[in-house]
């Protein structure tokens, strides 16, 4: 059987879906039984919520606030436009695949309208909302600290975007104003679930496109021959969580970078090359040369460019798009001055 695609965001209708009744006809609508529990549970699992409702925006938002659930919804679309348009905006704002969205509505017309425009969106009739907690598509394999605070991270990101839009002047000055702190450390058992999640979720900034299971990562982490690094980023708006991962195969004269990946969230923060820079500096200090594996996946060109522009040269390439890069480390670059890089003492002994 085909594996069901995991859902990352549930988009809800309001009238007759989240609450009984029609808000514009009666201000006294009541939440449907257990709906709050469903929303809260999914939120804790790291699944995001949004809204696509044909309603009066101000009135609907006031009602959601009064009912105590407004905080759960990101990028709500409350207006009279087609729901397919709402879904598209939500998808772009959150930056996930269409097939990672579940749209819940009580009207077959709306479900079909969305399906007709976005065939990949998954849909559910509102009458079945109580099945959601047991739906395998809504049960991520692991619940990590990062998944349970995913919503807060998106909300902090909205604040950042607003600040960035209001900021006039060079973008690097803006980056400097964020007070970013980038921490790099060796993975421990606690990091592995998130590490697996990162290899599965990251596409654009994954140097090989290879995903690793928890068990594989655990084996690599405990091996003397490998170094598994995790990094975290935070700024004045809060943490971005664990956003990068690198796997280094330690050989006598060479460090071979088997895997390098960064979450897309840090791309626009100018922090995408910090981990690579750190590894290059560390390898050089230990008198090693570097090799790095890369495989074209059609979506990870930025990684290709990152390696080449960091001074890596192509050692070999096969027809499948697998490339091995090498670097003599005669020249290494500095970290950007708008990011504080923290590395705990006694690393990599």
């Amino acid at each position: 059987m085909e594996r069901l695609k995991d859902i990352k965001c549930v988009v809800w209708d309001l009238d007759h879906t989240i609450w009984d009744g029609v808000l514009l006809e009666s201000g006294d609508v009541k939440l449907r039984a257990r709906i709050k529990e469903v929303i809260e549970q999914l939120d804790r699992r790291g699944i995001l919520h949004s809204i696509a409702s044909k309603n009066d925006a101000e009135l609907a938002w006031a009602k959601l606030t009064e009912l105590g659930i407004a905080e759960y919804f990101l990028y709500p679309e409350i207006h009279w436009d087609a729901k397919s348009i709402s879904i598209q905006r939500i998808q772009q704002n959150i930056n996930i695949g269409m097939d990672a969205i579940l749209f819940v509505d009580d009207q077959p017309f709306e479900l079909e309208e969305v399906k007709s425009v976005h065939a990949d969106v998954q849909v559910l009739h509102a009458d079945h909302y109580e099945t959601m907690l047991n739906d395998p598509r809504l049960m991520p394999r692991f619940i990590t600290a990062d998944s349970s605070r995913r919503r807060q991270m998106y909300q902090a990101d909205t604040l950042r975007k607003q600040a960035e839009e209001q900021y006039e002047g060079p973008s690097e000055k803006f980056l400097a104003s964020l007070g970013m702190k980038f921490t790099i450390y060796e993975a421990t058992e606690d990091d592995l679930q998130r590490a697996e999640e990162l290899t599965v979720r990251t596409n654009q900034l994954n140097a090989t496109g290879i995903t690793y299971s928890y068990e594989e990562l655990h084996q690599l982490m405990t091996s003397q021959d490998y170094l598994l690094l995790v990094c975290e980023l935070e700024d004045k708006y809060g943490t971005y969580g664990k956003i990068g991962l690198a796997l280094i195969h330690k050989q006598p004269d060479i460090w071979r970078l088997n895997m390098l990946l960064m979450s897309c969230r840090v791309m626009s923060r100018g922090a995408g090359s910090v981990l690579l820079t750190y590894i290059m500096r560390e390898a050089r200090q230990q008198g090693k040369q570097m090799l790095a594996d890369f495989r074209e996946t059609g979506r990870n060109r930025m990684m290709n460019i990152s390696y080449r522009f960091a001074g890596f040269t192509q050692l070999s390439a096969d027809p499948d798009g697998k490339i091995v890069f090498s670097h003599d480390l005669k020249q290494v670059v500095e970290f950007p001055d708008y990011i504080e890089v923290c590395v705990p003492e006694r690393q990599h002994q």
Partner: protein, 87 residues
């Protein structure tokens, strides 16, 4: 055609030097002068491809082709000439 002015503008808009009044001349290596973030690198390649309707393959995706305004200009002229011949 001389595209240097367009390249200068793009670099100027997307790269901030440490000192406000720092100038980048056409032969300055702006990658050596500062940390290069992946996003700038990606934008630069993207700008060249879109603006000049050329494709930059792995063979040309070399820092040496992108590191100064003059070198980038050479690359663009070379790619445009090759495109013309292929037509």
């Amino acid at each position: 055609m001389d595209y240097r002015q367009e390249i200068r503008e793009f670099i100027g808009n997307n790269l901030t030097m440490e000192h406000e009044d720092a100038q980048i001349s056409d032969n300055d290596n702006y990658f050596e002068m500062r940390f290069v973030n992946s996003l700038f690198a990606m934008r630069l390649v993207d700008f060249v491809e879109r603006r000049f309707q050329i494709e930059i393959g792995n063979d040309d995706l070399d820092l040496a082709n992108f590191s100064t305004i003059n070198r980038l200009h050479d690359l663009i002229e070379r790619k445009l000439a090759a495109k013309e011949v292929a037509r």
